[in-house]
């Protein structure tokens, strides 16, 4: 039986099938952005051919498909979501647009039009009702006002309704009654109540998350519906799982219900792949570093567990659901370098994109990009072919860097070296964001470099941060699809419970977590009959603080009679790691209890090792500028032999990436053909 992972990117759809022996088969086919499910089915046909099967035969032998999608992300970025109506507590319809009074963009830019909210004010309607902070009802729900609001939404042709009432984190009764009424009167509409997606205190976070869910929900539902239909037509009868932003997978129905949780579905695959890699390699501490053409995703895997964040935003929208702590930098191989009027050199955030692309692509681009700098420095071979059979135009790259250099009094070479230093510095800053700024020392981690542009920058970035080790997968492009197959099914439950952790009784704490565990287990068991693991954490703060820190609680002793103290101690310790101090005599408030039910899927079989072969020989020498010009060896990535060791400086060329091993570095080839570089 096969398991198939499918990662739909902007340009290509990557697929991987893994059989019982762990043998993986790869396929790549063009994405079809208008309806990605078409590209997926075409990709499945390509994959079947690679297996020597026809598609329905392959699907008949497939036990599970896991899929990462950017449908929700794109709907947000391109503002192509549903027409949403929002029901709020009367008198509070502007919470969404007020953003707590914060102007999100540059503080000093007072010539800036405000962003359009996802729901315009005329579709944000108040319902007469009010619940107090303690959950008691101040004003019962006025059904006439609810019906008037629904009348307006129907008249306006709204297809998706978000409901967010004040203090619904404490009592969901009014939201539930309203949702029922909306569902009854608007049968085709997609309905999201805040208490169903994010039952937590803080109304802006909640309304924003709810509205995002309502906005992308119908798009995600439509797409996944079409995909499920096409898979059924193609004779697939097994389950379809969707990658979620928190790095777990969920059945299609859950992904449709909690559509806002799929906005990081795409990059989550890369992290999932990294976690799997961490297990396979026996390197539990990894920093996944995915450097592409226009952007770079950086995250952190510690003891094989990815970092989670609860304060993510995408395309200016706040989504408060737990998601992988992925930092996305607007810089990559295609980033444009420019000199500002003050004579300071910047790289990005503008990108040459695919068209016109870097100057060296010869498609009319004239501005110097990171890729052009790499050509000028000899790191990319102008005589070689890029993917798609394109030849690089070295003269164009030289000219672009020459122009850039003249603006700051440097020649093309020095300018190119400068562009490299700046981009590497920005990448290092991104890694500091997920490590140092989370209280974690990156030197105890290995950098896992993937994405087309990562290979030429990873060792330099690692060196800047004193990271001793860089690992480069052999087939980085399908790392995501492959990682999805190794992901667990994950259901998250959260409950706001504001109380002093130190004075909470051991029984009280155990009871809250036990109830939540039962709830999460129940939901998971409805779709999954394998073994279930439980993860517990809590968001906590000192009494008067307002931002909580998420503190994992799995490692504490749940049988201690002083459970409250143990929980508080875990918080003090984390606070000190993050902010240089703790205040151990002050009260610790537990705001949100979190429980994740994790369905353990059968382990992905280990990839077979490469057979023994003769060490690969350099295919040529290339003249490269590494502080000075020198001739260095170029080796073919695909022909490397397990155990082979390569002393830097050297370039290792693969079909989709080129890796620079610098002087003093040593690359060793692992059993599965990956590179393990010791940064000297």
């Amino acid at each position: 039986m096969f398991r198939i992972g499918i990662d739909v990117g902007g340009t290509f759809t990557d697929l991987v099938a893994v059989d019982e022996t762990g043998q993986s088969t790869l396929a790549k086919s063009p994405s079809t952005p208008a309806d990605p499910s078409i590209g997926v089915l075409e990709g499945l046909a390509v994959l079947a051919r690679a297996l020597g099967l026809d598609r329905s035969t392959m699907l008949g032998q497939t036990e599970r498909i896991v899929h990462g999608t950017t449908v929700a992300t794109n709907a947000l970025l391109e503002r192509k979501g549903a027409k949403v109506g929002l029901l709020t507590t009367a008198g509070h319809r502007d919470v969404l647009e007020m953003r707590e009074g914060l102007k999100p963009e540059d503080r000093y830019n007072l010539r800036l039009a405000p962003p359009e909210p996802l729901v315009p004010r005329r579709l944000r309607l108040g319902v007469t009702e009010r619940i107090r902070a303690d959950g008691t009802v101040l004003t019962p729900i006025d059904h006439a006002s609810l019906d008037r609001a629904i009348d307006t939404l129907i008249a306006e042709g709204v297809t998706s309704v978000a409901i967010c009432f004040l203090h619904a984190w404490k009592s969901a009764a009014h939201e539930a009654a309203s949702a029922e009424r909306v569902r009854a009167r608007m049968p085709g509409a997609y309905v999201t109540a805040s208490s169903e997606v994010y039952p937590q205190i803080k109304e802006y976070e909640r309304v924003s998350t709810t509205v995002v869910n309502a906005y992308v929900g119908p798009v995600v539902a439509g797409y996944l519906g079409r995909l499920s239909g096409r898979l059924a037509e193609a004779a697939y009868t097994g389950p379809l799982f969707i990658m979620l932003s928190h790095g777990g997978v969920a059945p299609v129905e859950e992904a449709i219900r909690l559509a806002a949780a799929t906005v990081l579905s795409g990059p989550a695959g890369g992290v999932a792949g990294s976690i799997h890699a961490a297990t396979l390699l026996g390197v539990p501490n990894l920093i996944p570093f995915d450097m592409g053409g226009t952007s770079t995703d950086i995250s952190l895997v510690r003891q094989s567990v990815p970092g989670l964040a609860i304060d993510r935003g995408i395309a200016g929208q706040r989504i408060a659901l737990p998601s992988l702590d992925i930092v996305t930098l607007g810089a990559g191989g295609g980033s444009i370098a420019r000199v500002d009027q003050g004579g300071v050199l910047h790289v990005g955030p503008e990108s040459a994109g695919a068209a016109p692309g870097p100057a060296c692509y010869g498609r009319g681009g004239t501005e110097a990009t990171v890729t052009d700098a790499n050509v000028v420095l000899g790191l990319l071979d102008p005589s070689g072919l890029l993917a798609g059979g394109m030849r690089l135009d070295k003269e164009a790259a030289d000219a672009a860097l020459g122009r850039l250099g003249r603006a700051i009094g440097l020649d093309a070479i020095a300018a190119a070296a400068g562009v490299q230093r700046i981009i590497n510095g920005r990448m290092a800053e991104g890694i500091r964001l997920v490590s140092v700024r989370r209280g974690i020392d990156p030197t105890a981690f290995a950098l896992l470099a993937f994405g087309g542009a990562a290979g030429l920058h990873a060792t330099a970035v690692a060196r800047q941060l004193s990271i001793p080790r860089v690992i480069v997968p052999r087939v980085a492009s399908v790392l995501s699809a492959w990682g999805m197959l190794a992901s667990e099914i994950r259901f998250e439950t959260t409950r706001s419970h504001i109380g002093d952790a130190t004075t909470m009784t051991t029984d009280g704490l155990r009871r809250i977590f036990a109830e939540m565990e039962a709830d999460a287990r129940g939901r998971l068991a409805a779709v999954f009959n394998g073994p279930i693991a439980i993860g517990r954490s809590a968001d906590m703060r000192y009494g008067e603080q307002i931002f909580e820190i998420n503190v994992p609680l799995d490692h504490i002793d749940w049988d201690t009679p002083e459970l409250g103290r143990a929980v508080a101690d875990a918080f003090h310790q984390r606070h000190e790691e993050l902010y240089t101090y703790a205040q151990r005599t002050n009260e610790v408030v537990l705001v949100n209890a979190r429980v994740a039910a994790i369905g353990k899927l059968p382990e992905l079989p280990k990839e077979p090792t490469l057979g023994a072969r003769a060490p690969a020989r350099p295919v040529r020498q290339q003249r490269v500028h590494l502080g000075e010009w020198r001739e260095i060896d170029v080796l073919p990535f695909d022909a490397l032999a397990p155990g082979q060791s390569i002393a830097g400086p050297a370039l290792i060329e693969g079909p989709t990436t080129t890796v620079l091993v610098e002087a003093g570095d040593t690359a060793r080839v692992l059993d599965n053909g990956w590179l393990d570089i010791r940064v000297g």
Binding site: H92, R107, R111
Partner: protein, 573 residues
């Protein structure tokens, strides 16, 4: 009184034309920015008081050993231009006696503070045994002692009634906290536990910055870092000068008014005579009205900061705000005027008023020189601080009103932001969650939305103000102080745009239904259990001729209930 140029001479600059690697300059600029941002984030997440953790009323920055501003995070604009004055005060007070591990404190507006509640922490950072940087965090404390809670004391006639004055003070000596001094300060403020929590957060973030700077010094060495910083400052200066250069030479006038000084004097004028000459800009505030016997005076550092803020708003937003970008700017002012009070006078209101009027007068003046850069006026601040007891916990509380923000100004780029705040914070201060506020304070927020028909009309209208109705659910009477301005003068319309509507706040008695219109400078207003506050904040000023506003834009405002269907009255020209 004679005119007196007050911009301090910049300490001698190294010649930046010496061999500086332009790449290192860029690396250093990005890194310093990342450091001050990280510092701000740590502060936000660890502070105790609502005004800091929820409302973000603090700023972080780095000065060099000579007190020049090197980098600052984008928090509260009015703090930042004042930081160099404070850094120099500390350096002067402790010359020759500054050591690694020291921490200094200051709040006195006559030593480079903005006003007393803004307490500033300084951590010196050493390179090769020499003082290289100051890591600085300026934060608005919830209370600073004095005769009223929350520092704003409209009745004050001298600074001593406003709170504790902290001149340059060493609170940690080579790593050893001077607990006696800290206790002395904490004892003199209300809610000393919060004060200590906030101070710990400030010091924590400043130490974090020190740690990062030491790593940077270690990485690059002072021989490379010093020249790179000079080149970075010079680059910012070049960019700022290129913009001023494009404005027509000449002298421009602008005026803005405070409603009153709280002592019976109305329409206190701030007058800006702004001269553009090549790439130099001189702001002359000497003709502003005389100082007041009330807290609307500005301190010197705060006045400098307001001028820097106006300049920063008019140049390109992405020019780094540092010593270099402010070099084209010269400020002239006179002690004894409303913008620069003599020592001993109260100044607590000055970070909003008269800061906002200083900014507005400068923008009005330069709207003739750079119309596309000048923006409609942003709202004025009108705050209420309530002191009472929470019947649910019997604990005392102090609460500051941050909800129902006034509108931002329209600009050549489009309409203003609705309900986003005042000139001096520019959308950098949050009002926080109403759910959290109701859980923590005995208040019920019945209504909190945009205020229709409050925005100044224009080709691009101002943002609307906000409206708030809240019930004070105490069991025993609470006390309210107001502090602010702008119930007579609304935010200024620019280039033909209309003014925003002024503020209008009402206290409605639960017992009698009586409605009391609140003034902006009231002390000890008794708030009975069940009384309601009905708050209508001012709209932002419009930009450009209202006749140029598109029909679609007008219809959208009507559909969204932001503007009534009747056309707004024609604006003054």
């Amino acid at each position: 009184m004679q005119d007196q140029p007050t911009t301090p001479p910049s300490p001698s600059r190294q010649d930046a034309s010496q061999s500086v690697d332009p790449i290192t300059v860029a690396v250093v600029q990005h890194r310093l920015h990342a450091i001050v941002e990280e510092m701000g984030e740590a502060m936000l997440r660890t502070a105790y008081s609502q005004i800091l953790n929820s409302s973000r009323d603090f700023s972080t920055g780095i000065c060099d050993g000579g007190g020049r501003l090197i980098a600052q995070a984008e928090h509260v604009p009015v703090h930042v231009g004042a930081l160099p004055y404070a850094a120099r005060s500390i350096a002067e007070a402790f010359a020759g006696d500054i050591h690694p591990g020291d921490v200094f404190l200051l709040n006195d507006p006559y030593f480079g503070g903005n006003h007393l509640p803004d307490v500033t922490v300084f951590v010196p950072v050493f390179a090769d045994g020499t003082l290289a940087f100051w890591s600085i965090n300026r934060a608005h404390m919830s209370d600073i002692g004095g005769s009223t809670h929350g520092a704003y004391n409209p009745a004050a006639t001298e600074i001593y009634q406003e709170g504790l004055r902290i001149p340059p003070l060493r609170i940690t000596d080579r790593g050893a906290p001077r607990e006696d001094l800290i206790r002395m300060i904490a004892t003199n403020v209300r809610h000393s536990r919060d004060f200590r929590g906030d101070l710990a957060a400030m010091i924590g973030s400043a130490k974090l910055c020190e740690k990062r700077l030491l790593a940077l010094i270690d990485e690059l060495g002072t021989a490379r870092l010093g020249p790179a910083i000079e080149a970075m400052l010079n680059g910012a200066e070049r960019r700022a000068r290129a913009i001023v250069e494009a404005w027509p030479d000449g002298t421009y006038f602008g005026e803005a008014w405070l409603d009153d000084d709280g002592r019976g004097r109305n329409d206190v004028a701030i007058r800006a005579k702004v001269t553009v000459s090549g790439s130099d800009l001189e702001i002359d505030l000497t003709q502003s009205d005389a100082e007041a016997k009330s807290f609307v005076n500005s301190s010197h550092a705060n006045m400098q900061s307001a001028c820097a803020m106006a300049f920063a708003y008019l140049i390109d937003h992405d020019i780094p705000k540092n010593d270099g970008s402010f070099r084209p700017l010269k400020v002239k002012a006179r002690p004894g005027t409303i913008v620069w009070a003599n020592d001993g006078l109260p100044v607590t209101m000055c970070t909003s008023h008269c800061s906002n009027e200083i900014v507005e007068a400068i923008v009005v003046a330069l709207s003739a020189a750079c119309p596309d850069r000048a923006m409609g006026g942003w709202g004025r601040r009108f705050r209420i601080a309530i002191k009472g007891e929470d019947p649910r916990t019997q604990r005392p509380f102090i609460w500051h009103l941050f909800q129902a923000r006034p509108g931002g100004g329209g600009s050549s780029a489009g309409d203003g932001y609705n309900s986003v705040g005042e000139w001096h914070s520019a959308g950098g201060i949050k009002f926080g969650s109403i759910e959290v506020a109701e859980a923590r304070f005995p208040f019920l927020f019945l209504h909190h939305e945009f205020r229709p028909d409050s925005a100044g009309d224009g080709m691009f209208r101002g943002g609307t103000g906000g409206e708030l109705e809240m019930v004070v659910e105490t069991a025993v009477p609470a006390l309210g102080n107001t502090a602010g301005d702008g119930i007579r003068h609304g935010a200024r319309g620019m280039l033909g745009g209309g003014d925003g509507k002024p503020h209008h706040y009402i206290l409605r008695r639960a017992a009698t239904g009586e409605e009391i219109v609140l003034g902006t400078k009231m002390v000890g207003v008794a708030i009975e259990p069940g009384d309601r506050l009905l708050i209508h904040s001012g709209g932002g000023g419009g930009w450009g001729d209202p006749a140029q506003r598109t029909a679609e834009a007008r219809q959208r405002d009507v559909d969204n209930g932001l503007v009534g269907p009747t056309p707004a009255p024609s604006p003054k020209i």
